[in-house]
Each structure stands twice: as C-alpha cells, then as structure tokens.
Symmetry: C4
C-alpha cells in the first residue's frame, strides 16, 4: 500500500531483521566469532524469531480481511493463507527456533532452516519475483537446454573417460568422475584440479571447451532476454504481497 507510512516502516523493519538474522547465521559459523560474541548471536536469533512470529501472527489474523478471501469464513481464509508459498515460508522461518527447545536437533540442520529466512525477502524484492517470473515464462526453453546440456556432459565425460582412464585412473577412472571434469569445463569455471594430460584428451578438452561456450549461450540468452523484458514491464512497486 504505497502512501502508507506505517506499512513502509514495517517493511523496512522486517527486511532489516531478515538481513540481521542471516548475517548472524553466517558470522556465527566462524568459531572465533561464536566464542567471542555468543550473547549477541543468541539475542539476534531470539529477537528475529520474536519479530517473525509477531509478523506471522499478524499476517495470519489480517488475511481474513484480504479482499480475495473476504467471502470465506475467517478460519478458512486464514488456513488458505497459511498454505500459500509465502505462508509456508513464514512458518518455516520461525519453526526451527521453537523446535530447538523440544527436539535435540543437529545444529547444522538448524542453520539450513534459519537461512530459509532469506526466502522471506522474496516478498519484498521485486527483482527476485521478476526472476521467478522470467524463469517460469521460459520454463520449457530452459528444460530443453537442460536436456541438451545433460547429454553433452554425459557424452563428453564418456569420451574423456575412454581417452584418459589409463593415464589418470584416479581422475577419469569412472564416467561420474569424468562428469565432474565435464561440468566444470563446460561452465568455463576450470578449477584445474582435473586436467587431461594425453594429447587425445587435450584435443577432446579443447573441443569441449569451445562447444560448451556455444551450448551455455542458450540458457544465458533465454534468461537474459526474458528477465530484461520482465524488469522493464513492471514498475517495481513493492506490494504488500
């Protein structure tokens, strides 16, 4: 609701807590920082869980007034809101905090759950929604690209496996091993941890590198075009969701 200052302030407040919460998860993974500033991390986690819980409760309560759901009984409107993707993400963002008290969950699983809070940003970021729209609009072209790319990875990996398995059995000894090389080469990342050493292997790698550049242009071209269209079409209005 543009013009409503309270809503804008609430948005900014929640976005700030999302960022703080994610930053806290990232920094807490550093042992030195966890040892030195644990109270701060605990406080941030506690407060953000509180903020997100209040936000979730208010959204759930307010959803009964939503124009599209107003004709339903209150409890059904709220249930339906709770089952939307945004509602599920909001719930997942606070669940781990409460579960940690009841279940002796692994610290690591909690980290992943807490990072899911990033998804809450999607409601506030027109960019993320534009990207989702662009990817959805081109889902069939992208699926076609994935089939092509998958074939290419398996084919080049199999050929490379035949060419290099004898020379480097630890690196190209199986086709899955060779697929690691194929993906990293086709994506032009080129870590250099797996490199052909025979002349035939180098020839195959050279052809793969060039072929890969052409093939990878496909998703790039498709997504870039669709995203540019979506970005220019919408007016970047931040809506309440």
């Amino acid at each position: 609701v543009p013009g409503d200052r309270l809503a804008s302030a609430a948005h900014a407040f929640i976005i700030a807590w999302i960022v703080a919460s994610v930053a806290s998860v990232v920094l807490e993974s550093v042992p030195r920082l966890r040892a030195g500033y644990e109270p701060i991390f605990v406080a941030v986690e506690f407060c953000s869980a509180l903020v997100f819980t209040v936000e979730y409760a208010l959204r759930l309560w307010a959803s009964a007034e939503h124009p599209a759901l107003r004709h339903l009984p209150h409890w059904r409107a709220r249930l339906r809101h709770a089952l939307t993707p945004a509602g599920v993400i909001d719930l997942l963002a606070i669940l781990p905090f409460y579960l940690a008290y009841f279940v002796a969950a692994d610290f690591r699983v909690l980290v992943v759950f807490r990072l899911l809070r990033f998804l809450k940003l999607m409601r506030y970021s027109p960019g993320m929604r534009s990207l989702t729209e662009a990817i959805y609009a081109e889902r069939r072209a992208l699926a076609a690209c994935l089939v092509i790319l998958g074939s290419l990875v398996i084919t080049t990996a199999a050929v490379m496996h035949l060419a290099e398995a004898d020379a480097q059995p630890d690196k190209f000894g199986t086709i899955p091993d060779a697929m690691w090389w194929a993906v990293i080469t086709l994506a032009t990342v080129g870590y250099g941890d797996v490199v052909p050493i025979t002349p035939l292997g180098k020839l195959i790698a050279a052809v793969t590198a060039l072929m890969g550049l052409v093939m990878l242009a496909l998703p790039v071209g498709i997504v870039a075009t669709a995203f540019a269209e979506v970005i220019h079409r919408r007016e970047f209005v931040v809506t309440w969701g």
Copy 2:
C-alpha cells in the same frame, strides 16, 4: 499425434528406457557399483535392448504406412526409413547388444555405442531439434567464426611459443603444446596447468584473454539469437517423427 494416449504412453515408456539405459552405462563404469549390482546392470541392458529392438521393428513395419512413403512398395518404404538418420541411430542403438554375442569386442567400444542411445532422445526432445535447426540456419556464420577462432588459436600459440619456449620448454616447447594453452585461455576456462611466467608471456596472455572474450562473443551471440528465434517459433509439439 496429440490426443492419442497410447502414443504418449509409448513415448514416455521409451524415453524412460533410454534414460535408464544411459544411467546404467554411467553407473556401470564405477568398479564398486559394477561389482555390487552387476545383475541389475545386465538386466537393464537386456530389457532396454529388447525394448529398442521391438521399437525398431515396429517403426520399420509402420513406416510403410507413413503418408510420405505410402506410394512406394512396402520394402522400399522400409528401406528408405532405415536409411534416415533416425533409422540409423535406432539400429546403432541395438546393434552392439547383438554384436557382443558374436564378436569379442572391447568393453570400451561397447560403452560408446551404448551411449549413442542418447541420440534416440533427439526424436522426442524439441529442444535438441531446435538447437540443430538453429545451428543449421547459422552454419555459414558459425563456419566463419571457426575460421577466425582457428586463426586466433594458431597465431597466439605461435607468438606464445616464441616468448615462453626458453623459459618453459616442457609447456610451450612446440606450437601444438602452446595451442592447448591458447584454446583453454581463449575459452576463459583457465585450468592453470600451463601458465606463462615471463613478463612478455604474461603480456601476451593478457591480450589473448581480452581478445578471446571479444572473439568468443561471436558464436555465442549467433547461436543464442538463432536458438531463441527457433524456440519461440515452434509450438513444442512432440511429433511421432
């Protein structure tokens, strides 16, 4: 034939067997899996060979009814179908299975033949056909790119050979050796196994890296544009062939 449920089911069934067959070849290359699950691999190979044989026989038999070939005598219509690219691929997909009983063929050659089954997917994947169309439509522009790229690889390799042959005779001692470096650099893969160490060599490599980015934009731009056009033109109808 859209609407025909039987045809859709047959398509899905054959695509599933293609994927299973290729996955089986990939996994079988891992010694640990081959030792543990050999019966499964043998069964998948046997069943997929059976499925593809039946498919090939049915296609061959049905080709006499194909509208474009109906005016021909049956045997000539079938022979003509057998000689189309799709017909040849279908034959190659089952041949190695039967040959393995008669010829003591190398296991590795069989692997390559069995991976050819991936090409069967081309009949069912509109994406692959779109890419083939796009590449065919731009074949002259792509050939021009290849000439440019080839010249660039040889030229930069020769210059680098002159600059670095004394400092690193094992890596830049011959022009073909230097061409390996040139391709990996121009494709921006950059494994890092061959890197110039003299100041002059580094200067040449810097210019090569920048020049390569400009040059490689050419096939990328051409293919991406043509592919996007083809993708948007066709309606992604999966036709029987």
Copy 3:
C-alpha cells in the same frame, strides 16, 4: 567547444599528463625501476601536480563565466563548481602532492590518492560517461540482481559448508570461507585454490556452476543492452565539462 583548437590542444595536453602520472605511479611500484629512475618519477609527479594545479585554478576562475552560474556572485559560482563531483576529483588529484610536504603520510595512501587522477579522465572519456549513464539508468534492475546474487552466494556457501566442512575444515570450515569459493565459482573464474573433494560437494559445485551462469547473465544482459543504447544515442562529442 568544438572548433576551438586551443581547447583541443589543452585537452590532449592534460590527458597526456593524466596518463603519464598514472603510468609513473604504476612503474614506481617496481623496486628495481624506483631505484634506477627515481629522478624521473619525482619530475613527472612534480610536473603533473603543477599542470593539474594550474588546470584546477583556471577551471575555478573560469567557472564564474559558465552560462549556468553567471547570475551568481563570482565567489558563489566558484564554490558551487568546487563542490561538483568533477571539482572534488580535481582537488583530490592535487591534494596528496601538497599534503606530502606537511604530513608524514604513508607512501601507500599517497599511491591510492594519486591513482584517483584516473577519475579526471572521466571528463574527457565519453565512454566512461556512457557507462555511468547506463548503470544509472538501470540502477534498480542492477540492485535487484545484486540481491539475487547475494542470496545465491550465501545459500550455496551455506550448503557447501555443510557438505564439505568435515572433509576440508580449513577451506569450508566457516560460511564466510565457503562464500569465497561461491563467488569465485559463480563468476566462473575458478581459481582452483578451493575445490570440493567429496561426491556431494562436487554435485553441489556442479549445480552452482550451472546456476551461476544463468544468474550472472542478468547483469550482463542489462548492462550490455543499456550501454549499447547510450553509446549509439550520443554523438561522442568531447565537451569541456
């Protein structure tokens, strides 16, 4: 002022001194060259400081005659010019030279200040201004890209941290460590100093490399389009500022 030969000559003269000054800073950082040619570096620095000081004084004095500021009192017109970005850059370009006589500043800080002179080129380079315009025109789309990219870096880093922390605690032991890997992989640079070694880690890296290519197409597509538009719109007139 096209047609004015004196202005053109002055432009060329100042551009030459900017290039000479920056080249001198770069070469002076090589100990062997600093030892051998110190007088030359000192002379270049002295002369360029002199040239830029005279340029700054003349611009400041002339700004009172500028059509847009002519209605103001002279001293206010000059103050306003001094506070424009171009005016601030011009001041920063000469300040370190004079400060060095009064303050015992660190040699390194001076280097950074002296390289700021490169920004003076922006007044004379239509290309840089076009890029600035293009980035400004697409600032919201680029901000959306940054949010997406940031989320992707943190998410892949967290997942990789969970997958590889046990195998390589020195390289993936904390999420910030893993973020270094994530950025270098998503940008397809792939130094190879940090590489996953577990099968799960390699799978995540493969998905990251492919996803990254799609995601990074976004800023590329946006900037390239906007820059091409701006480049073709303007007539490359070098204006006096």
Copy 4:
C-alpha cells in the same frame, strides 16, 4: 567472379596451400616431427613459396586491368596494388623464403613471418572481413570499452597491491605484478597461479570478479551485435578481392 570455374579452382588451390603451409609451420615446431619428416616440410615450404610467388606476380600483372585502376599507367596501377594491405600481405608471405637465402635470419623470426600467410586467408574468408567491418564500425565504442577496462585493471591492481603486498610480496609486490592477476580475473580466466590469501584481498577479488563480469559484457555485447548485423547483411559472396 562467381560462375567462373577457373577462378573458383584457383581460389581452392591457394586456400589449400595456405592451410598446408601453416599446418607445416605448426607441425615443424615439434622436434620429433621435424627430425622424422624434414624433407616433407622443406618441400611444402618450397612449393607454397612457389605458389604464392606465382599468385603474387599474376595479381600484380592483372591489377593493371582492374576497373578502378584502368585509367592509370600500368606501372602506377601495379604499384598502387602493391601498396594495398592485401598486396603488402602477399609480399610478406613470400619475402621470408627468399630472405632466408641471403640473410642468416633467426629461425624463429621466420616462423612468425611464415604464419603471416594466415592473413592471406582474409581475402577469401567473408567471416574475417565481416569481423573486421564490425570492429571498424564500432571502433569508438570499443575504444571507450578499452579505456574503461584499462582503468579498472589499474585500479583493482593498485588496491590489491596495497592489500596483499605484505602477505605475498612475490605475487603482489608491485602494481604491474598485480595487474597480471587483475586481467586474468576480470577476463574470468582464473588460472589460479596468483590468488589472494588475506580476508581483505579475498573481498577485493570477489568484488573484482563480479565487476569484471559486468564490465566485460560491454565489448561482448557491442561486437556480437555488430557482427550479427554484418553477417546477415552480406551475401557471403567470395569476391576476387
């Protein structure tokens, strides 16, 4: 002259000798091949020099009949032809062969001269001419890109030099050293021979990698667009030159 079979055959003949001559230079650089097949290399060099000499003489003789030069005296028409880029390349392609008898030239310099024969292909390759046209049409935009890229390389190198010089004096000890890292990172090649190790250095490298992708999109977008235009405009007629 399309339709003229003799001209087509002559073209094919000369293109074949250009390719043979260049391939011979490349393969001759391998000591094992040079030792084993020296007579063949000598023969190819002798024959190609003969072919190119005859071609040059015929072209020079025929240039007097060229419509654009017919109004000139014969010797002036021929001199003018000899001074065109194509005429100079043709001369340079045969000169080293004859010079080798008179001057005790270094083998290496001869190699570079002999590879110049590749440039003869430009007359026959519409692709190379299209690229040259595209680059010429966008020369000002590309110059603007070079200025931007150069500024970026020097700036990131200087900042990285300040951040890492203490930790890795052999790799980032001087700004030119750091520029090697900057170019290889900005071009997303990423050899991995020079990698930052301090947290600050890694942060700078991450920003550089992302910035570089945006910046490098500029020449890519410009050249790809211009090349696609030129490629589609011309009809790929191979003209006699």
